[in-house]
Symmetry: C2
Subunit: 255 residues, 2 copies
């Protein structure tokens, strides 16, 4: 049984709490947050505290706090030589105070407050200074059903950046499509199956192989038709840049 203390009360902390308290292989011994109010509703199922000096002994301390809070929080911990991990995509493992054994447990997924999340869909990027810690963290990930991958701080930074492209930027393209359709009285909803199919396609094919459309074909007639339809300059900028990008990737044009 792996004993865990969770620090923080955001989406990642809450989803980890729920997953870790469900399995037989892990036990959440305590939940800490700076402000007790955020976790008060869990007080009947787990020890809660807002006092760092009251932290219980555990195998792993998970700091699921904002990027900026990681470093100062590791300094404030009133113990040494225990395993302390953070869950951030962009904080270097060496930014943590070295009085404790350090590790990273970065779930590469988008966490919403409400949606229930299946950790089988959440790859965990694991990093640790000591190999025994790496194996313990891997065991914890497997206990909640997650696939795992050994990822160093440099690779993790790059994954975090790439995640912005496939998540935030992709979502913004959906938003632009929403603006374009609604402005002409067409229904955004009609695009939803295509959105899903596009994401499914690259589960098996590389994005290079999966590409289609007028930019790739260099179909100037359609590109011109679209240019005329785009009345919003900002939408047109995005159209032009991504068309150029596709043509570059597929050997149609130099940048």
């Amino acid at each position: 049984m792996i004993s865990v203390v969770i620090l923080g009360a955001g989406n990642v902390a809450t989803h980890l709490y729920k997953a870790l308290s469900k399995t037989q292989e892990t036990e959440v011994k305590q939940w800490y947050n700076r402000s007790i109010d955020a976790i008060n509703s869990f007080k009947n199922e787990v020890y809660i505290t807002d006092d760092l000096s009251q932290l219980k002994q555990a195998d792993i301390y998970i700091l699921a706090v904002s990027d900026d809070a990681v470093k100062p929080l590791t300094k404030q911990l009133p113990f040494e030589n225990r395993l302390v991990v953070h869950t951030s995509g962009s904080v270097n493992i060496h930014d943590m105070d070295k009085k404790n054994h350090r590790g990273v447990f970065y779930p590469l997924q988008s966490f919403s407050k409400s949606a229930t999340l299946n950790f089988t869909d959440v790859p965990i990027c694991i990093e640790a200074i000591r190999s025994e810690d790496y194996h313990l963290l891997k065991k914890m990930a497997i206990a909640i059903g997650s696939p795992t991958k050994k990822v160093n701080s440099e690779q993790r930074k790059v994954l975090h950046l790439a995640a912005v492209f496939v998540n935030n930027f992709t979502n913004q393209l959906y938003r632009v499509a929403h603006e374009i359709t609604e402005s002409e009285g067409a229904e955004f909803d009609l695009l939803k199956p295509l959105i899903l199919e596009t994401a499914k396609k690259v589960q098996k094919l590389s994005p290079y192989v999966a590409q289609t459309g007028p930019a790739k074909r260099n179909d100037k007639k359609t590109l011109n038709k679209h240019a005329k339809l785009l009345t919003n300059k900002h939408h047109k900028d995005i159209y032009d840049l991504l068309t150029k990008s596709i043509q570059h990737t597929h050997g149609r044009k130099k940048l």
Copy 2:
């Protein structure tokens, strides 16, 4: 029983042939293509021809051909007063020769040669000059299990443009993420569950509500970290433009 003749041999034609020949409510009476070779492998299951003068009588003629071929093909048809539809997102219904009754049967989805496609995931945008034709086309769509929507030529053009954003451009963002990760020895595969989750999220939430990340939060520290990581100028241009776009949408910045 609705009788159909299919003209063309691309992905849309082939998928429609398979779907229409499977249901009880529709019958593919004949399959035409300019070059017989492309459909020769189907000759034991359906009448095939490369001769327009040999076209059989049917309730609906589906022109699943390239955009440029639609207009000339409608002119070449050796009959009148029958229902002729095209399947293109961007060809106006009035571009078709008016000697026949005209309609549009536009499947809003990405068609690959290999992948089997379930038409329940393919919304059909229907347009027709005559209301009885509209109802017949709707009946045909329902027969293959598709949701349908009445969409006029202007709305269809806009949907076709929006589809480029959610399909081709989104796929290009996946490609950029692939380039970013692989260049640093990180695994693109780790992003696949996030790609799927991002697409699933907007099936229920609007893209506006679904947005998260450093651009929306105006988290300058992370934005700066990413700027430093982006060594490829072209990737940086996309990062900057889409960050600006998100900040504009969420009231952080004027364009």
